[in-house]
Amino acid sequence: MTAPSEDIPMTATVEDIPPSTRETGPGTPRLAVEDLRIVMPATRRRPEADVVDEVSFTVQPGRVLGLVGESGSGKTTVALALLGLVKRGLAIGGGKVLIDGRDILALSEHDLQKVRGRSVAYVPQDPGSALNPVLKVGTQLREVFAVHGGDADRLTQVMAEAGLEDPAPILASYPHQLSGGQQQRVALAMAFACRPQLIVLDEPTTGLDVTTQRRVLDTVRGLCHTYQVAAVYISHDLSVVAEIADHVAVMYAGRLIEIGAASELFATPAHPYTRGLMRAIPLMATSHELHGMAGAPPRPGNRPAGCSFRPRCEFAIAECESGEPQPVVVSDTGHAARCVRATEITALSGTALLARDRTVPAAAEPVLTISRVSVSYTNKPVLRDVNLDVGARKSVAIVGTSGSGKTTLARCVVGLHKDWTGTITFAGSQLPPGVRGRTPDQLRKIQFVAQNPYASLNPRQTIGQIIGNPLTHFTKLPARERDKRIGDVLTSVALRESFAARYPDELSGGERQRVALARALVVDPELLVCDEITSALDVSVQAAIVELLLRLQAERGLALLFITHNLPLVRSIADDVTVISAGQICEHGPVTQVLTAPKEAYTRQLIADVPSFEQTG
């Protein structure tokens, strides 16, 4: 697993910082978490509810443990507990966090301060908001030394190690003046400043594009290896964890449901949830049907009896209901899972992914033709001379890093963005730039689904009214007929008709995106433009939405224009793919050809940087 060379000094000189005060004998783990329990304290209205319970794991020096779980699984709560921090409204219910044998949960506030940043360090998820906006980067970095000791040349050295070559201008600027990658490297420098024994990384590369993410991951691995630092890497993205972690622990609804060596766990998952996750993640290698999981994880405080995953588990049996399943060890390397049928599931052959047969439809006459479209914003070019065709019933993906202009292109097609040059023809006739000039028919046939499900539905209207809006606008159907159409489209997006009376804030992210889809489909469009519609969702929810979208495309013969930065997803969803970079199309063609044998260097680099767990071990 050779990452492209990065000019990071692999062999660092021995440091002048004395190793951690307590000499640890071989075998005692650098970090040991025993039966950690974190709760929402009881209040007048409701009893105490556990957010995280019965979590135990160990990490050896120089080793990286990946802590994986979807949103609401409690992984961030555990991460913060490793530094003795609990968010407002939560409290430590029990258990120990031993760093080199010393339980930091028992420390006083004063002693805890000495430990944080010194023996255990934290790398935040979104460095943009974790760095203080009103203080210069230099001040915030030097503050670590001011609190824990260390000097100037120490600073330049640690910045170099974090990959910040020319420190002076960076130290002098404010956080908002740096790029995402630079901000994250500053956070890394801050974390490694005092050579901590343990480092906790909370989804550090989520906000970064693939290439930067690759470089940051290499840096982290290099530093951990060099300084024999134990690391806990929290993420919702299995492929990223596969790249970096030696061991993996999977969290679900506040419980540690599976733990084991990374290679073994990914090869033969022992818990149905892990297995489900594996089947939901799109792969670069093959295009396979993404296997979503219906329902959602239980909220703290209303956990079903027995195994919390039972309601969504396809392997559930009566015994699952009797009580919390205890960890079952399935191999001599310590691979274990909290599932009564764990051994049975490990024996299943791999994840049995169903290959998707992309019957490439005939080269039908294009529904949408974009020719020579250029856009510039205050004399800076955003799109330069873009040409693109979307065939009827075809699914075309546009892939590019953020700022590449892919969203602007989508906005031009749907008329949100007015000042562009060039021509866009739809179903034979030319589209005027803005919404105002377009015929009702054109407006009806092109529909748009936005990225953030939480902002695309009017919180003050019921689901029925939201879906009804386009209907009342485009058709003069009587109310009864309209309600029937709404009921039908709700069932077609796998939501019960009773949802029509509910309000957006009562729905989950996935359900809201389905409502947005229903609103787009209720007026029978011909072209559906989706702008990163799954990037705001958990991978299991994303899988369900993608499958739904493809099923609807097939049933209704829709043309699909799918904008995303997630390359593996393109593999599973699109017929053709267009790679766009800095406003220009740099490669276009069928997915099978572009993603396996890319012609352009940029595409090749892009594909190489995509983390995936096929290559583990």
């Binding site: 949103s71 913060l80 530094l83 921090l85 407002r88 506030e109 805890l112 301060q113 000495k114 430990v115 944080r116 940043g117 010194r118 360090a121 934290y122 935040p124 998820q125 979104d126 943009g128 908001s129 974790a130 760095l131 203080n132 906006p133 009103v134 203080l135 503050e143 670590v144 609190v147 824990h148 020319d166 201008p169 960076i170 002098a172 404010y174 908002h176 003046q177 740096l178 790029s179 995402g180 990658g181 630079q182 989804e203 989520t206 906000g207 970064l208 594009d209 930067t212 919702h236 890093t401 953020s402 700022g403 990225q451 953030n452 992210g509 990163e532 990037s535 705001a536 969702l537 930065h565």
Partner: protein, 339 residues
Amino acid sequence: MTTATEATERVGPTSKAARPHPIRDLVIKRSLIGILTLVLVSILIFAATQTLPGNAASAVLLNTATPQRLHALEVQLGLTRPAVEQYWTWLTGVLHGNFGKSLANGQPVSTLIGGRILNSLVLVVLAGAIGTLIGVGLGVLAAARRDSVFDHVLSVTSLGVTALPEFVVAVVLVIFFAAVVIHWFPAVSVFAPGTPPWSNPRELVLPVATLVIVVVPYVFRMMRASMIDALESDYVQMAQLKGVPKWRVLLFHALPNAIAPTIQVIGLTFLYLAGGVVVVEYLFNYPGLGQALVGAVSDRDIPQIQAIVLVLAAFYIAVNILTDVIALAVSPRRRLPRS
């Protein structure tokens, strides 16, 4: 749940010269708009005072106003000239710094209200500064000890006090500290015209105290809210996780961020004071602009009304510009645009 933020790859901060100077531009732009507003305000007042049934002449002559005397005085004061001409002579006068003569006693308006501007300014600045300091201080403490008894007590009392009219506060203060219970402070200010207000500080205590009591709740509630926002932010959590001691987190990380939104409120309190001062000056017989305005309005002394309201409006615009400049200076994100 992760969102794909627009994290673009970019080079470090561009050189200083290339970047436009945001503060200078803001001040120039706002001052021009300010001047335009001032002219509009003066036209508005002139029009308003034209519509009144009585006029300066009847206000001066009162019941000795026989028709002949009324007419004679009106001619003498130039009230019989067409409104537009009156306004134009007044405007050109102002451009040359001459605010015209008072209709009531013929003295130049500038001498009449000159001293008073200083007096009112002292009151407003003193009350504003003290009110802000107390408001910010209490706001930080309440936020630091959120949901404690201290926090709840302060929040509820601040809710109550914001509802009290100024004169109720003033009356209570006078009864307790000046006239009845204890005679610590003079109930009234009697310093002679020309002498600066600080010549007898004890006379300033009650008027300033009244304004401070009325202003502190606003600053307190805003400061507490923005401090709570700051304390719940990612950068404060990061600071804690860096092992930074509690007091340092509060003062170096949370406070600088909480100040920016509060500056708007602090700016607004100074404007509030400019209005609130009228009642206080009236009750404490404090020779300020507010008192002069009430008098000028009753005497229909248009030039004096114009001058005072222009001074108030200019003060308003200046405070607004100053607030925005400080807000800009305090938040680098707005001052130094990304690219």
